[in-house]
């Protein structure tokens, strides 16, 4: 796909070196993921032999039926769902406040919300771990959710705030002017205009939570989310074929919604939110 015709004036063509370098970088990014798919079908159970001696489909049902994997998957899904809901609420409220009002310290809010994602994961992890330790809170489902919600808020916040800024601010005034109270305005005007941004933010928050491993290591105690289970399998491989298949499933579960989120934000920027 790199050899496609480009709309550049003559003399502005990319050199072969540049094209090769770009292609190499792209392959470097993607070939490892393809290999995961390949290995899900290998007959080799005890090593990572390449090329695979032969291919089989038998691991897929086995992996799906594996109780440890199922348990980890369920925990991850529950944590991600709840963390996403909290991120949606907190992120949207924050974005609305920053967009509609001027207040002291407004500029700092964005910076503040992105900190848990920008600082190395162990900082957030060990910080929450210290608090758990100091206040002697027992590890639980909730300690994982709290950690995940904290770093997921910013994805919703950023998406919704960007959408607010792109849509015309007078729309809310126009709606109230036409007789709608604040709640009616929110329902009929604000929500339809930010819905795709909310969805995109939620998807990102979900996948962020779904495959988080660093913070979770410090907040999970003995419980295993799916990434932690995979991490454990990598440290002490017991069941390679099942791990391979699980890895493939995780790629699918996270990558497909991301594609959707990309589409949602890209498409809405063409049509919606006209700003005279």
């Amino acid at each position: 796909m790199l050899s496609k015709k480009k709309s550049q004036p003559p003399g502005e063509r990319a050199s072969w070196g540049l094209k090769l370098g770009s292609l190499a970088a792209l392959l470097f990014l993607h070939v490892p993921i393809w290999l995961i798919f390949l290995y899900s079908f290998t007959t080799d159970e005890s090593a990572y032999t390449f090329p695979p001696p032969s291919l089989t489909l038998k691991w897929i049902p086995q992996a799906i039926a594996n109780p440890a994997m199922q348990e980890a998957l369920m925990l991850s899904l529950r944590v991600a769902a709840l963390a996403t809901v909290m991120a949606l609420i907190l992120g949207t409220l924050g974005a609305a406040a920053v967009y509609r009002y001027d207040f002291f310290g407004k500029e700092a809010i964005s910076f503040f919300l992105i900190l848990p994602l920008a600082l190395p994961g162990i900082v957030t992890g060990i910080a929450i771990r210290s608090a758990i330790n100091l206040m002697q809170i027992p590890f639980s489902f909730w300690t994982i959710v709290i950690g995940h919600a904290t770093f997921s808020v910013v994805t919703v916040y950023n998406n919704v705030l960007a959408r607010f800024r792109r849509t015309s601010g007078t729309m809310v005034e126009a709606s109230m002017d036409l007789g709608a109270n604040s709640f009616q305005t929110f329902w009929h005007i604000v929500l339809p205009n930010i819905s795709t941004a909310l969805l995109a933010g939620a998807i990102l928050a979900f996948s962020l939570s779904f495959d988080e491993v660093i913070v979770t290591t410090f907040t999970a105690g003995q419980q295993q989310t799916l990434p932690i289970w995979i991490f454990g399998q990598m440290l002490k491989p017991r069941n390679r074929p099942i791990t391979n298949v699980t890895a493939m499933l995780v790629v699918l579960i996270t990558a497909l919604p991301i594609l959707l989120a990309q589409r949602l934000t890209a498409r809405s920027s063409d049509t919606e939110g006209e700003k005279s």
Partner: protein, 301 residues
């Protein structure tokens, strides 16, 4: 009823602001800042070596431990690794970012952008896992080396001190490769953003003034892309400093900051030392961010 609530709120914009801002603010102050604060507090406690219990008394002796030789080596090793990873990411990311920003047609650009963001967002653990497959002794790299009859070179390389090891998947080189792979998208996107902000007219003007394309690249494009490079390096540097997964899976016995923190808080239950250790990357990152701001990196984010 709703009308009356709405009117009540309409007359009190400050109350509405408080209602909107309070939940997220409260959450972040209590949960996040609170946690950071307890971390700070913990770092001033110490672990009693005999009882194995944390003693909640103010002391600097935990911080003093950071300056023992082994721990200083850990900081040095991790920072060096982060720096090397950052440089490698710049070298690999730049051509692709440059191609996307300047030569790709709008359609192709959308696809390439997706091709970069999907790895960025898709599962971190699984992407790490894929390198377990690649670097294994029986994996694709060894297979390829045999295929092109370079297995002797690979064997010689693995025999080198510091960079080698029993196999690529247990070596500093392995750690380095996986880090570069994992953080590469974080470098591509800011560089591309910065390059896209270079106006075409500027490049044309440079050509107009008699510069050949190499000169234009060196004198016009590179300086303007630099903030993007710095912005990307914030990610690659910070993320490498704090990671423990990759060194645990691919490293030999030598510690990195993240791995040390994990070990202290986990196996030995020494949360004070783990907390004090974490101050290391925070300090390094704050210094780094201050330099980055001087270099104008925040405009490219």
């Amino acid at each position: 009823m709703l009308n009356r609530i709405s009117t009540f709120l309409y007359r009190r914009p400050k109350l509405v602001l408080a209602l909107l801002l309070l939940p997220p603010l409260l959450w972040f102050v209590v949960v996040y800042l609170g946690a950071l604060l307890t971390m700070l507090i913990n770092s001033f406690f110490y672990l009693d070596g005999f009882t194995g219990k944390v003693v909640p008394e103010f002391t600097l002796r935990t911080y003093a431990k950071l300056f023992e030789t082994t721990n200083l080596q850990i900081f040095g090793r991790t920072t060096l690794m982060a720096a090397l990873v950052t440089l490698a990411c710049v070298a690999i990311a730049f051509p692709l970012s440059y191609y996307i920003a300047r030569f790709a047609s709008p359609r192709l650009k959308t696809w390439l952008y997706l091709a970069v963001t999907i790895p960025l967002w898709s599962s971190y653990v699984v992407r790490v896992y894929s390198w377990k497959l690649i670097l294994a002794q029986e994996g694709i790299v060894s297979w390829f080396a045999r295929l092109v009859r370079l297995d002797g070179v690979l064997g010689w390389y693995l025999g080198l001190p510091a960079v080698g090891g029993p196999s690529l998947s247990v070596s500093a080189t392995g750690v380095f490769l996986v880090f570069v792979y994992i953080w590469l998208p974080y470098m591509i996107i800011p560089i591309q953003t910065a390059l896209e902000r270079v106006p075409k007219s500027l490049i044309e003007a440079s050509g107009d003034l008699g510069a050949n394309s190499a000169q234009t690249f060196r004198n016009v494009i590179l300086p303007l892309a630099f903030p993007g490079v710095v912005a990307g390096s914030i990610f690659t540097f910070s993320l490498t400093l704090g990671d423990f997964i990759v060194p645990s899976l691919f490293g030999n016995s030598s510690f990195y900051i993240g791995k040390a923190v994990l070990a202290y808080q986990g196996t030995s239950g020494n949360i004070p030392l783990a907390a004090a250790f974490t101050m290391g990357p925070i300090v390094i990152m704050v210094v780094y961010l201050l330099i980055a701001r001087k270099l104008g990196a925040f405009d490219a984010l």
